[in-house]
């Protein structure tokens, strides 16, 4: 019972938090992403980041940073951000539609 109440409360917090996060100022660096990563519906080959899973984006940034993921330019860009900054950017991008 208690577990369920916590789960409901957590879901409520998340539901309340998502639109707020979506409308909040982008964390440092996040506004630049859309220079290459389309925010529209047109299918370009550089991946769309809005609405993507935050954990996926964070992991990709970590992979680009440590060289475990192949890249042309994202390795050079990812090195400009800490894990914490990447997580904030990922959460904000995930909250965008």
């Amino acid at each position: 019972m208690k577990g369920l109440r916590i789960a409901i409360a957590a879901a409520a917090v998340a539901a309340w938090y998502q639109p707020l996060l979506a409308a909040s100022d982008p964390p440092p660096g996040a506004a630049s992403c859309s220079g290459c990563h389309s925010t529209g519906t047109t299918a370009f080959s550089i991946s769309r980041l809005y609405g993507r899973d935050a954990e996926d984006i964070t992991k990709a940034m970590a992979g680009f940073r440590d060289g475990s993921l192949p890249a042309t330019v994202m390795n050079r860009i990812a090195k400009g951000f800490t894990d914490e900054e990447s997580r904030a950017i990922a959460a904000w991008l995930a909250a965008q539609k």
Partner: protein
Amino acid sequence: MGISHRISRRDFCRVGAAAAATAALPLPAFAQAAARVVVIGGGFGGASCARALKQIDPKLQVTLVEQSRTFTACPFSNNVVAGLRSIEQQQFGYDKIAASGVTVVVQAATAVDATARTVGLADGTSLPYDRLVLSPGIDLRFDVLQGYDEAAAAKMPHAWKAGEQTLLLRKQLEAMDDGGLVVVAAPANPYRCPPGPYERACLIAYYLKTKKPRSKLLILDAKDTFSKQRLFQNAWKELYPGMVEWVSLSQGGKVNGVDAATNTLITDFGNHTAQVANVIPPQRAGRIAMIAGATDKTGWCAIDPVTFESKSAPNIHVIGDACLAGSMPKSAFTANSQAKVCAHAIAALLSGRSPAAPKLINTCYSLAAPDYGISIAGVYQPKNGLLADVEGAGGVSPLDVPRDFRAREAHYAQTWFATITAEVFG
């Protein structure tokens, strides 16, 4: 909202009435009125900023002032020079920006009164603002290279603002006989698009190799080093052996003047008479920035690295090529990055919040051939009043990679252009 050549009489009366009401009412009422932001310049910086402002706060009254109905983009215009692309593919209109709620005024801005906070337009009307954004791009300096004035540019094109000049350079290359000498004169820093002259040399060489293989291309440079230098030099050797020669500053490459009558470029070390001469002169911020009091003795605009507010003209923000942004190069990507950061900062300032320190990214692709791309990237943050490189980040494409890596970067270059122009104008 539509695009108008001038502000309609009704709008103008409304603005006048609002201003009068503002003056008559106590401060709290003023705080409730929708804030007015005027953006001058409809390129990658200004158009992005106007659109971002409206998106961040739909209540803002955002006006974009631009004298041309059609924007002609510089990135990829070297492909037009080389006959690989049409000028129409470089051109974008403002209809979608107007449809997003931005008032687009197709007129030249001729005056700025920083005290009264008004922008004067060519037709004599004026626009009041709470915050003004200047994104005027560059003016070419016709007072530095002896003999290189606007009349000379009609014979020896700069092609550094895309449009007629781009097409003129292309026509001259098409008209040239095989075996001719093409000269590209590159300026000292800072200037619009640091790798641009060298990408242009590559794509002209691509055209010559295909159509006029006995021709030569000479780059006369006012610098000893340049952006993506090793990558470009390797590409010249690999793709255009014996065709491209670079003369650095210390080898006598600096052009001091021209003789347009004979198509001659004059250096301290001698004269070069070209069949086609592309003279890229020194530059400064677009004229309206000087009129607004936002330029310093360099001719560019010093700005606060968090808000992009001018260091000399309060309530006026400068973005894009016109501003001195520390380590950030003058590129379309930079202008777009700065525009979005500036829009968020202005929205924060107008609602009484102080903007957080940003980070900005630049990515800039150049083509050494249609299927051979190279890039430079950087991440920047405010430091000691400037935008400084985040250490350990950024840099250029690797030197030793297989050709499919270059092909992928060429593809990404195309994709970048499609994406950014869709974000700004689509």
